[in-house]
């Protein structure tokens, strides 16, 4: 479904991503892991069009999307839950969800809302509340709801556990597990490598802008050298 080929991303001349490649099949769940500055977020930003790719290609459902603008990519069915959530704070929960309108395809707004409220009943209770006034965990639920309202082909999450209490992290990953079981294709960026390896079938380990290792979670656990070098001890 998604094939990232030798992409390079530069910020003001400095390469943050240097020739990263990986593939992701439909229904698969893949995690990008690695230390700070390894290029994980930049890779996601490149896929969703927020960052420009200076070379390489990003194939999505058979065509290269690396030249498209971010809103066009979003409408193709790639939902990106960015790092730091980026919630529309002054708007209500329901307005936040409805902004996914452009990506909803055949669903009517009310059908979309119904689908999200089915999975996240808590949001229905809070529908009229200002999104910025919610707790961090609830906000994370809103952004995930906002992402899945369009039934995306690919769901990308950047550090969904960041800044949340362990209990809340469990709830978030429980939700993601539900989506995974329902067949949602997921690309996860996670600094907490343990969490990521538990959740994903395969992992791509990044270090200083390059792929260090690609393999299943089990394979990765057997490579103490990689864990020591890039993932720290845990």
């Amino acid at each position: 479904m998604l094939s990232v080929r030798q992409i390079e991303v530069r910020y003001e001349g400095i390469a943050a991503v240097r020739g990263i490649s990986f593939d992701l099949a439909a229904g698969e769940c893949l995690a990008l892991i690695g230390p700070n500055g390894a290029g994980k977020s930049s890779t996601l930003r490149a896929i969703s069009g927020l960052a420009r790719v200076s070379s390489g290609a990003i194939m999505f459902s058979g065509s290269d999307i690396s030249g498209l603008r971010a809103h066009q990519i979003a409408r193709l069915g790639i939902a990106h839950v960015p790092e730091g959530r980026h919630i529309f704070g002054p708007m209500t929960v329901e307005d936040n969800l409805l902004l996914g309108r452009q990506r909803m395809g055949d669903l009517s707004p009310s059908q979309g809302l119904e689908m999200v409220y089915d999975i996240l009943p808590k949001l229905q209770e809070r529908r009229g509340q200002q999104a910025g006034s919610l707790s961090g965990g609830e906000q994370q639920m809103v952004v995930i709801g906002r992402a899945i309202i369009g039934q995306p082909k690919l769901l990308m999450l950047d550090e969904p556990s960041m800044g949340l209490a362990p209990q809340i992290v469990d709830t978030v990953f429980e939700l993601l597990g539900k989506l995974r079981s329902a067949g949602q294709t997921i690309l996860l960026v996670e600094q907490n490598a343990e969490l990521a390896m538990d959740f994903a079938q395969r992992c791509v380990v990044l270090g200083v802008g390059e792929v260090q290792l690609t393999g299943t979670s089990a394979e990765l656990r057997s490579r103490q050298d990689i864990i020591d070098a890039y993932l720290g001890t845990f």
């Binding site: 969703s48 069009g49 927020l50 603008r69 971010a70 809103h71 979003a74 409408r75 939902a79 990106h80 960015p82 980026h86 919630i87 529309f88 704070g89 002054p90 708007m91 307005d95 409805l98 902004l99 996914g100 309108r101 452009q102 990506r103 906002r146 369009g150």
Partner: protein, 297 residues
């Protein structure tokens, strides 16, 4: 100074304030979608006044047709400003775009001078008749039009931003441009729409105020300054702030005439603005505190 005179100051303050508020609304509209202070906003107002004066005074069009055509034509100018200048700066900073709007305003002003010359243009108030007298104070009928239309426009914009999908999407661009892109919102299109809307709004303001203030080719800058001050005073980025700021500015100006030598009117208003911004940088109502990532994508 008797009660009637004080009331007169309040009324003239509110009338002028409503004008500032209308101009300020246009500033806020573009700022909401782009973070850019569009200094050509005053020229939209000037163009509205001049076009309507010509259509009504020289071509003798019916008033409704003249007004609608004027608003549409100036809206088109707004689209051209975005298409021809603002959208060309792909990765420019906000400051670059602000400078571009300054340049555009000089161009529009020069074109207006060459076209209609330096003399003031004018057309009769919407409603003919002597001004109203309330407890001895005088209210111009056109002022009621300005205040009334201002209130309707503000209510309409409020509904637009809170109820319509398009309005919500524009607001989303303002709150978080990147997140808006990720929602599949075409941010550039929203910017274009915001330029058209605020140009049309400026034209409407120009049409409304010309029977009170005349329309001259060089009035845009002063109006822009006052409209900007109104928005800043109220707090940028909040609906309603331009109205509060505009009315406050108008009242302060009128009050300054009572207590100070009259030539100080303009300075007093701007001095108050500076004081408010020093004490409370987000404006009277408090605008959006968080500054966002503002590179045009």
């Amino acid at each position: 100074m008797d009660a009637a005179q004080l009331l007169q100051f309040a009324i003239s303050g509110l009338t002028v304030g409503a004008i500032y508020a209308l101009v300020g609304l246009g500033f806020n509209l573009i700022f909401n979608a782009t973070d850019v202070i569009n200094f050509a906003q005053g020229e939209f107002v000037m163009l509205g006044g001049i076009l309507a004066s010509i259509a009504i005074g020289q071509w003798h069009w019916p008033m409704w047709l003249a007004i609608l055509t004027t608003i549409a034509a100036v809206g088109l100018v707004g689209a051209l400003v975005d298409f021809g200048a603002v959208s060309r700066v792909r990765r420019g900073s906000v400051m670059t775009i602000v400078m571009i709007t300054l340049g555009v305003s000089v161009m529009i002003k020069t074109a207006a001078l060459l076209w209609v010359g330096p003399n003031p243009l004018y057309f009769d108030p919407f409603t003919a008749g002597p001004p109203l007298r309330i407890f001895g104070a005088v209210v111009q009928l056109q002022a009621l039009w300005v205040i009334g239309t201002g209130a309707v426009v503000m209510a309409g914009l409020g509904l637009f931003f809170s109820r319509s999908a398009l309005g919500r999407e524009m607001l989303a661009c303002a709150i978080d441009r990147e997140a808006a892109y990720l929602m599949g919102i075409d941010v550039r299109r929203m910017v274009r729409i915001s330029f058209v809307l605020s140009a049309a709004l400026g034209a409407l303001a120009g049409v409304l105020i010309t029977p009170l203030t005349n329309a001259t080719y060089d009035q845009g800058f002063t109006l822009a300054l006052k409209g900007f001050a109104a928005s800043a005073l109220g707090g940028f980025g909040r609906s309603g702030s331009a109205i509060v700021g505009g009315l406050a500015l108008g009242l302060i100006e009128a009050a300054s005439v009572v207590v100070m030598p009259s030539g100080w009117k303009d300075s007093v208003a701007l001095l108050v603005l500076i004081l408010v911004l020093v004490v409370k940088p987000s404006g009277l109502l408090g605008g959006r505190a968080e500054r966002r990532h503002t590179q045009a994508l």
